[in-house]
């Protein structure tokens, strides 16, 4: 990636400019508890909850900022926020 003066760029550069590094806590699914209710996908402010072929979901850790809304709203406590450690 190269930067242009004035921060001028074509749309969609966030695909290259990954922002998941801001996260302190990482959401992790417990698929045994998940009822595929879709709330986490609908409520995620960063569109970082992606549906899988089997009807469950997975997180896009390249862009998930660890806000924890999904875990807070999950009716089955199927999402745990785990501290990111190096």
């Amino acid at each position: 990636m190269k930067i242009a003066p004035g921060g001028v760029c074509k749309p969609g550069t966030t695909r290259v400019n990954k922002t998941g590094g801001w996260r302190t806590y990482r959401p992790v699914y417990d698929y045994d508890k998940c009822i595929k209710c879709k709330l986490c996908e609908l409520l995620c402010p960063e569109s970082s909850v992606l549906p899988k072929d089997d009807g469950f979901y997975e997180f896009d850790y390249d862009f998930c900022k660890g806000c924890g809304i999904c875990a807070n709203e999950c009716p089955k406590q199927a999402i745990e926020m785990v501290l990111e450690e190096k």
């Binding site: 930067i3 242009a4 003066p5 004035g6 921060g7 001028v8 760029c9 074509k10 749309p11 550069t13 400019n17 922002t19």
Partner: protein, 403 residues
Amino acid sequence: MTAQEVDKKKMVVVEGSYAVAHSVKICKPNVISAYPITPQTHIVENLSQFIADGEMPDCEYHNVESEFSALSALVGASAVGARTYSATTSQGLELMHEVLFNVSGMRLPIVMTIINRAVSAPINIWNDHQDSISQRDTGWIQLYAEDTQEAADMTAQAHKIAEDKDVLLPVMICMDGYILSHVYEPVVLLEQDLVDEYLPGYAPVFVLDPKNPMTFGAFAAPSTYTEFRYLQEQAMGVALKKIEDAANKFNEIFGRYYGGLIDEYETEDAEIIIMAMGSIIGTIKDVIDARRSKGEKIGLLKVRSFRPFPVEATRKALKNAKVIVTLDKNISIGLNEGALCTETKACLHNTNIDAPVIGYTVGLGGRDIPIHTIENIIDQAKEVMSSGITVESQFTDLREDLI
């Protein structure tokens, strides 16, 4: 005929603000957005009159509700490729503070005349440099004009410098409120054919266009932000040369020259060199002429470009000085010195020039700087030359009776 004799035949007596407004018109901006504020109002009044009279067919004048909006409107206009102009002063400029960073960070070559005025409180509408100096670190080029002719001519130079592909930085043309903005004196109004030769149309590198979507002033994380600042600093470095080039090219076409980054007056053998910016330069030159006739070696270094600061040119001009005097129409409260004093000392540090630098805060809130004030300062500088520095920086002509 010398250039000056040619000029005399073309001169007309107009107000400083009119001369600047005329230059703006001749530079053919596409969008002007400004908010009236004393003592800048006459510039934008004249411009809106030109537009109302149909003299600027390719220009839109945006009426806005504040200076913040005035400059914000130009951010959009400049991004879509318009040549843009605004003018403001004092509180208006301070209100623009946030947008100033956006303009320079987005590398938009907006040109703006600053009619220098004191800032509140206490409220005061007269001239000093506190308004523009307070915006020193916003990433704008800052040029200071000595007289109305220079301020008018600088408008064309400013567009040329700002729009250069290797610069792309906004420019503030600073001229003293009332002393220059409201004075009527003979000037040569810029000629359209010569300006067309001097200043090509604005050809933006990037254009905001729905048919070819681009993001301007994109988000930058800690991983890239530093590099954007570095590129701005690099562009300022390039501007050092482009400011000189713009002045030289102007001289070639118009036959008028006021210095590039700096201008030197009787500095060659000078023991005492006075540094200053703006309209005070004329007064200092008069005093120097009188002192020179008595055989005193006094010189003047006019700082024309305050940002980028002409470090190398200043060092070169000051290398043989025995005492350096800085006159500042602004003050950093808490350091008790003006910006020119601080920056001059900084640019001499780490060199082998060890002449004392003494700073004077003068003309705050429009207080006159008469000849005898400059005379006193020179006398004090002579004392420093013989017996060394005692006071580094001080207020001048302080009225002890009021305190």
